[in-house]
């Protein structure tokens, strides 16, 4: 069962002078075991879209269907949607509040009525998934490093065992090591069948990991497809305001001056192609 978004329109403050149309008819889909990235810069509507995926917002028009349940038709169904879709906000570590890491991670499943006997195994499982050992469970979440805090925050959503994970800029503020570790974690979750919906302005990162990418601009879907399709379209059309990944830009510039190189964001592929060109 997939997530399906069809012609989604969202208007904030409809019918008032403050009316803003944040999404203007956006369609996309995602299945468990898939990594879908939503890319766009500030104000493009990507966070508004993300908040529909676990029914924090309901569509003004159009449809959002999560595993067969339509958002906005029956608010009692929203409970189910929120169990299916875990939403991780930007800087999730700012939302930590419990005294121990254990209590923090147990909060979600306890809230959903998971029997107390099952809680410790849920916590262990979530800690294991984010790569923290059991010794963390007794510590205060506030005494951890930034990267560890973020992993605890993610674990506290994973303990509910969501089928989909929606992450808003999960790598913001992490250094390259922290970024690598987080992406490896998400990839592991994806392989084990979780659907990853990754909201980001980092096109380079999205190209490296996604199965499908949605590029939003001003509330409209500009591009939708595999990383290969996105890069080709980017080079052909050039998107106003979207900064091209440097490797793609280099490939484009070299093609303009007659090099026979593929449109690619992969450093090694481009380097090999340039070498071949110059050896001819």
């Amino acid at each position: 069962m997939p997530i399906v978004v069809e012609n989604l329109v969202h208007i904030y403050h409809e019918g008032t002078p403050l009316e803003i149309e944040a999404l203007k008819g956006v369609s996309m889909n995602a299945t468990p075991g898939e990594w879908v990235s939503i890319v766009g810069h500030t104000g493009s509507g990507k966070s508004t879209l993300a908040q529909h995926l676990n029914a924090l917002l309901v569509p003004t028009r159009g449809k959002v269907i999560i595993d067969g349940i339509e958002v906005g038709t029956d608010s009692k169904e929203h409970r189910k949607i929120r169990q299916l879709v875990g939403l991780i906000f930007q800087y999730p570590e700012q939302q930590l509040f419990e005294e121990t890491v254990f209590a923090e991670i147990a909060f979600g499943p306890r809230n959903w009525g998971v029997p107390e006997g099952e809680i410790p195994s849920r916590v262990s499982e979530a800690l294991y998934l984010v790569g923290l050992d059991e010794s963390f469970s007794k510590r205060s979440p506030f005494q951890l490093s930034g990267g560890e805090k973020r992993r605890v925050a993610i674990a506290s959503v994973l303990s509910v065992r969501p089928r989909y994970l929606v992450l808003d800029e999960p790598t913001a503020g992490l250094d390259s090591k922290g970024k690598d570790e987080l992406c490896a974690l998400l990839e592991k979750l994806k392989t084990s069948g979780t659907g990853i919906i990754h909201v980001t302005h980092d096109l380079e990162l999205a190209l490296d990991f996604s199965d499908k990418i949605l590029v939003l601009e001003g509330g409209k879907a500009l591009l939708w497809g595999s990383p290969e399709i996105i890069v080709e379209e980017l080079i052909e059309r050039g998107i106003e305001g979207l900064v091209m990944p440097p490797v793609v830009e280099l490939a484009r510039r070299l093609r303009d001056v007659g090099f026979d190189v593929p449109v690619t964001w992969k450093a090694q592929v481009l380097a090999s192609a340039i070498e071949e060109n110059l050896q001819k």
Partner: protein, 277 residues
């Protein structure tokens, strides 16, 4: 032309411990910054970069060793005064650094505090707004600016104080690629105009325009040299938690294959020109 440039900041065996802790956050650091230079201080999270930044304008003072600004120890009143007057800091979060409701008033805040005559403040504000490309939005409320514009506003406010040196502590890390490019363009312009700059970052994309790089790992200086010599190290940088960006990977491969000469830096323009020859 290359006569001895004026020494602005000098660190001598600087070590720093936060009160009540035993592990030093900074260990035995030495380096010099001369006027007109652009230095990048690099390191992974937790390497001590931001703690070091706070020493440059005497927000923190060394536990051992010393930090001199224009030859005066920042532990002395004279040194502290010189540091606060000549070195300004721009921080990570664009929303935390704005004090006024209107763009041009925010830029004027710093010089007003310094007691500059109002005619001169007007001049300075105009100049700072023009350099940062904010002149057209000078009458706008600050909350309507984009992240990149807000961060440029923070830079404009710093410039208007006419410091000898500006320190940017991860000033682009909360911005999107467009905002990052805007800030980098402004910094290049300021550098050309002779301003002394320190960029504190873990993004290797941002160092190609600098003159010199200093790498910190666990509070100690582990490397110092030119951006080119640093980037040549490729995956060797992972040891310090630094990752070479994809464009530099392409550059490294082409250098290894003898297709790019030593002078070419990993900038798109330079690489295209060199490959077309």
């Amino acid at each position: 032309m290359n006569f001895q440039k004026e020494l602005i900041i000098e660190l001598k065996n600087l070590s720093f411990f936060y009160p009540g802790t035993k592990r030093p956050v900074l260990r035995d650091l030495d380096f010099k910054l001369r006027s007109g230079e652009w230095i990048a201080v690099l390191g992974a999270n937790g390497s001590g970069k931001s703690t070091l930044a706070k020493h440059f304008n005497a927000l923190l003072v060394p536990t051992q060793g010393a930090c001199f600004v224009y030859g005066h120890d920042t532990k002395t009143n004279e040194g502290q005064f010189l540091a606060r007057k000549n070195v300004t800091l721009v921080f990570q979060n664009p929303d935390n650094q704005i004090v006024a409701a209107i763009v041009e008033e925010d830029v004027a805040f710093g010089p007003e505090n310094l007691g500059i005559p109002s005619v001169e403040i007007e001049e300075r504000v105009k100049k700072a707004l023009k350099v940062t490309g904010l002149y057209d939005v000078r009458k706008r409320p600050t909350y309507t600016l984009s992240g990149g514009q807000k961060q440029r506003l923070a830079v404009a406010g710093a410039i208007a104080m006419e410091p000898a040196c500006m320190v940017l502590d991860e000033a682009t890390s909360m911005l999107d690629p467009k905002g990052r490019k805007e800030i980098n363009d402004v910094l290049c312009k300021l550098h050309k105009g002779g301003m002394t700059l320190i960029s504190i970052t873990h993004r290797l994309e941002e160092i190609v325009y600098c003159d010199r790089c200093v790498v910190l790992s666990r509070g100690a200086k582990v490397w110092e040299g030119t951006p080119r010599d640093l980037l040549i190290m490729g995956d060797g940088l992972l040891e310090w938690g630094l990752r070479v960006p994809p464009l530099v990977e392409v550059w490294g491969r082409l250098r290894d294959a003898g297709l790019l000469s030593d002078e070419v830096l990993p900038k798109i323009d330079e690489m295209v020109d060199a490959l077309c020859l």
